[in-house]
């Protein structure tokens, strides 16, 4: 019997705007954990700062609400300490593509066994709607009345360009698909990057449910070839959702660490006084 969803609830009401995609994302995450029988205390989520991160005290799992743009390395450090824990990083498009852009790339490259949920609402929402690299180029935003001068970053292109072991795209308006994607991402061994097209009715009104309905095309199966995956995820008329690419053959970071091969314990179990006398003999 799966763990009842209610166990993942804290009794504090969410503070997002009405219609915000974050509601469905949180609900789907809870459902995914429950379906997978992962206990609240068997999970740790590193939350970023942003509207997304305002969910940190609304879900009953181990959580660390850290700094803006840093939830990915925070999640990695948490994961390495205890790989029995299911570790996720929860972050916005601003945190991922601006403040902490390097972390996403390094996480994919290291293929740490964590899941990264990128809430892409196409703006810096919590700071009241500035343009991010995913905002429409011409759209006038806070402080940029004529839109931003830089080109966009397509999250799929960026992630797929780094040879990820798992990349998926979900949409906050489709919780059923989202739950399945989350479950696959969490169970995938390696760094699962999940971009979530998240509605933000306050600062990204254009991308309303109709807008998405007209554009989204669900993938039934992951694409075999990464080149093809890149190609199909770059077209802008049709937005593919689903597990876009997956490669189970890439070893995880931990598997590559020479001195941890065959070690059964977790780092967190190993904190005790160590005898250094053997090491000292090198220094005599």
């Amino acid at each position: 019997m799966p763990i009842p969803i209610i166990e993942y609830n804290r009794n504090l009401p969410p503070t997002w705007c009405m219609g915000c995609g974050n509601y469905a994302i949180h609900a789907s995450l809870k459902k995914a954990l429950s379906d997978l029988d992962i206990k609240p205390n068997g999970t740790l989520i590193a939350f970023d700062i942003g509207c997304n991160g305002n969910g940190a005290d609304k879900i009953n799992v181990n959580a660390f609400k850290g700094l803006h743009g840093r939830s990915i390395p925070l999640a990695i450090g948490s994961h390495l300490a205890n790989r029995d824990m299911t570790v996720l990083a929860d972050i916005g498009d601003g945190g991922t593509l601006h403040e902490g852009l390097d972390h996403l790339i390094q996480a994919i490259r290291g293929n740490y066994d964590i899941t990264i949920l990128i809430h892409n609402n196409e703006n810096f929402a919590l700071t009241t709607g500035q343009a991010t690299a995913t905002t429409d180029e011409e759209k006038g935003m806070y402080g940029l009345p004529q839109g931003r001068p830089e080109r966009e970053i397509n999250i799929a292109q960026l992630a797929l360009g780094q040879n990820p072991s798992f990349f998926a795209r979900a949409y906050s308006g489709d919780p059923l698909q989202m739950i399945e994607i989350f479950k696959s991402g969490i169970t995938h061994k390696g760094c699962s990057v999940i971009e979530i097209l998240q509605s933000c009715p306050t600062y990204n009104k254009e991308a309303n449910p109709q807008w998405f309905a007209q554009r989204i095309e669900k993938l039934e199966e992951p694409i075999e070839s990464i080149e093809e995956a890149k190609r199909i995820s770059s077209t802008t008329e049709k937005i593919k959702t689903g597990i876009i690419y997956r490669d189970n053959s890439i070893p995880t970071f931990y598997e590559q660490v020479g001195n941890r091969k065959g070690v059964e314990t977790q780092l967190v179990d190993e904190v005790k006084n160590y005898d250094i006398s053997k090491l000292l003999s090198h220094l005599e």
Partner: protein, 566 residues
């Protein structure tokens, strides 16, 4: 021979084997039964420039260098400039086969000091001895050994050990050493025999750097993950932990930059393992936002700040202690922290363990200050202090941020056995939920800050070393005081108040000494007297005299003596 030392210095371009020479000499001398201290200077480039290794030899434990040497061995004549005027009366200069062109000033100095110059064609001697050109250094080594009138056995053993797993012709190396040792140019007047009584136990004592002390402290303390980005002079901690990782099982991750390193360390610590990161000033700046995050979230964190000289890139391979106020103030907003300063490998070993205990018990960031002089110099240590018991202050409870009298809230390890734990960099209520309520903010801020008082009470007083009623008391921390420590025995009117715990600061002892009539002198390896500023900020007391040095060099014993003589 100031302070009864014999001092040998090798100088030459970077990348020409100076490093190996210095290490071999230092270790062989120890193994021959003599305490020594080995200090390294090198430029921020890979080959060329002027590097040096200086070995001070004494009949008791020493922790600093002299400025002046007895024997200066030049690997190339170009290196003479920097050191030629720091040679003592009757000193010896050994240079290569080419003529040593001297300025008038240098000639005068040589005459005045009655220095002996000797041209030694080490390359030719190496070839003659059946070695190759690159074994010239081995000849020099043997020759110096002869000047010190030591038995070649200890040296030979160390040479063999050093090259053990290297692709070298070991017998040729040894022949070259012996060719130098037996070279007839080692005339009587050049000899600087070590006349101290050898101490046989020294064979079993350690040749150890400050960074090795930190690494060993971390290992002992059960630190299981190390995350760092290369930065001089912190990098050799990474090296030691990396090279011993099969034995220790520690996860050693070269992080992609300093922010990544400190975030990973914080994540691991929160999860319940012990983890550490180390960097120098520039990298520390980048970590400072995370310090603040750890501060408000009350997540334990241990960061080693290995200081070097200068702002910006500065003088990156040289020493200094200009980050004291940074350590105390870095990171926005107000949160409790602990700043600890090490000054030698024993300290480093012990204080690193303390740092972990403090970080975990008090749930705050601990900054462990060291500097290039401590980090990279080779000290002799008879024995490291006993390991310190691990204390973690773990406790399962309902509220992670319970308001308590001593400011310390329950903290537990996230696991399926324990209740869910939420930590947050938002201001929060006792139950971790974010808050902006006025009372909540005040109560939680007060609670956090009370930890500083609790911690302060638990910290020891600064260590007073020297004669109880010394007339002059130096106050300092880090490597700055090491030269003071080294002269205490010969100067009974001098004392040293050595600080290990800089923040929260216990300053009462200084005031007491001042009121008892001692001349108080701050000794610091920086430009502005940062530690003195901290003392003044906390106590209002302005230390009347300041001995500051900020040219990238550590304090030499002559610096202290000159101060005393003026």
């Amino acid at each position: 021979m100031s302070q009864n030392r014999i001092v040998v210095k090798f100088a030459g371009p970077s990348g020409k084997g100076i490093n190996t020479l210095g290490k071999i000499v230092s270790k062989s001398i120890k193994n021959s039964g003599f305490y020594n201290f080995a200090y390294r200077e090198y430029p921020s480039l890979i080959k060329g420039g002027v590097a040096s290794y200086q070995i001070d030899i004494a009949n008791h434990k020493i922790v600093s260098s002299s400025r002046d040497t007895d024997i200066l061995a030049l690997l190339t004549n170009q290196s003479k400039e920097r050191y030629l005027e720091d040679i003592r009366e009757n000193g010896v200069i050994i240079y290569g086969k080419d003529e040593l062109t001297l300025t008038d000033k240098e000639k005068e100095y040589i005459e005045k000091k009655n220095l002996h110059l000797l041209s030694l064609d080490t390359t030719k001697l190496a070839l003659d001895a059946g070695g190759t050109e690159i074994m010239a250094n081995m000849v020099l080594l043997g020759f110096i050994w002869r000047l010190l009138s030591l038995k070649p056995k200890a040296l030979e053993e160390v040479v063999r050990e050093t090259f053990k797993n290297k692709d070298v012709d070991m017998e040729a190396e040894i022949s070259c050493v012996m060719a130098g040792y037996n070279c007839e140019l080692a005339e009587e007047k050049l000899l600087k025999p070590i006349l101290f009584e050898p101490n046989e136990k020294l064979d079993k004592s350690l040749s150890i750097t400050g960074n090795q002390g930190i690494a060993l402290g971390a290992i002992t303390a059960g630190c299981r993950a190390y995350y760092a980005y290369p930065m001089t002079p912190a990098t050799s901690i990474f090296k030691f932990l990396g090279e011993t990782y099969q034995e220790t099982g520690i996860l050693v991750k070269q992080a992609e930059n300093e922010i990544t390193a400190v975030q990973m360390a914080m994540g691991s610590m929160n999860m319940g393992t012990r983890a550490m990161t180390a960097t120098s000033g520039g990298g520390f700046d980048l970590m400072s936002e995370t310090l603040s995050c750890a501060g408000i979230s009350e997540v334990p964190l241990v960061v080693v700040l290995a200081q070097r000289a200068g702002a910006g890139t500065g003088v990156p391979t040289w020493t200094g202690a200009g980050d004291v106020l940074l350590a105390v103030n870095a990171g926005h907003g107000e949160f409790p922290r602990c700043v600890i300063s090490v000054s030698n490998p024993e300290d480093a070993y012990e204080l690193t363990q303390k740092a972990f205990n403090i970080a975990e018990i008090y749930q705050l960031p601990v900054i462990l200050l060291t500097d290039k002089q401590i980090a990279e110099s080779i000290f002799n240590t008879d024995e490291l202090p006993k390991p310190i018991k691990i204390e973690r202050g773990l406790k399962v409870a309902e509220n992670r941020y319970e308001i308590t009298d001593d400011g310390i809230s329950p903290r537990w390890i996230p696991s399926e056995e324990n209740p869910v734990m939420l930590v947050s960099s938002d201001e929060h209520k006792a139950n971790s939920q974010s808050t902006e309520d006025s009372t909540d903010v005040i109560e939680m801020s007060d609670k956090r800050m009370r930890k500083l008082e609790t911690l302060k009470e638990s910290l020891p007083e600064p260590k007073y070393i020297g004669n109880k009623d010394a007339e002059i008391v130096f106050v300092g921390c880090g490597s700055a005081g090491n030269a003071v420590e080294d002269i205490l025995e010969s100067y009974p009117n001098i004392g040293y108040l050595k600080y290990q715990y800089l923040y929260p600061l216990k300053y009462e002892k200084i005031i007491e000494l001042h009121e008892d009539g001692a001349r108080i002198v701050i000794v610091e390896n920086n430009q502005n007297g940062e530690f003195a500023k901290l003392i003044k900020q906390e106590s209002g007391f302005e230390i009347p005299e300041r001995l500051l040095k900020y040219n990238g060099r550590p304090f030499f014993i002559e610096d202290i003596l000159d101060f005393l003589n003026n």
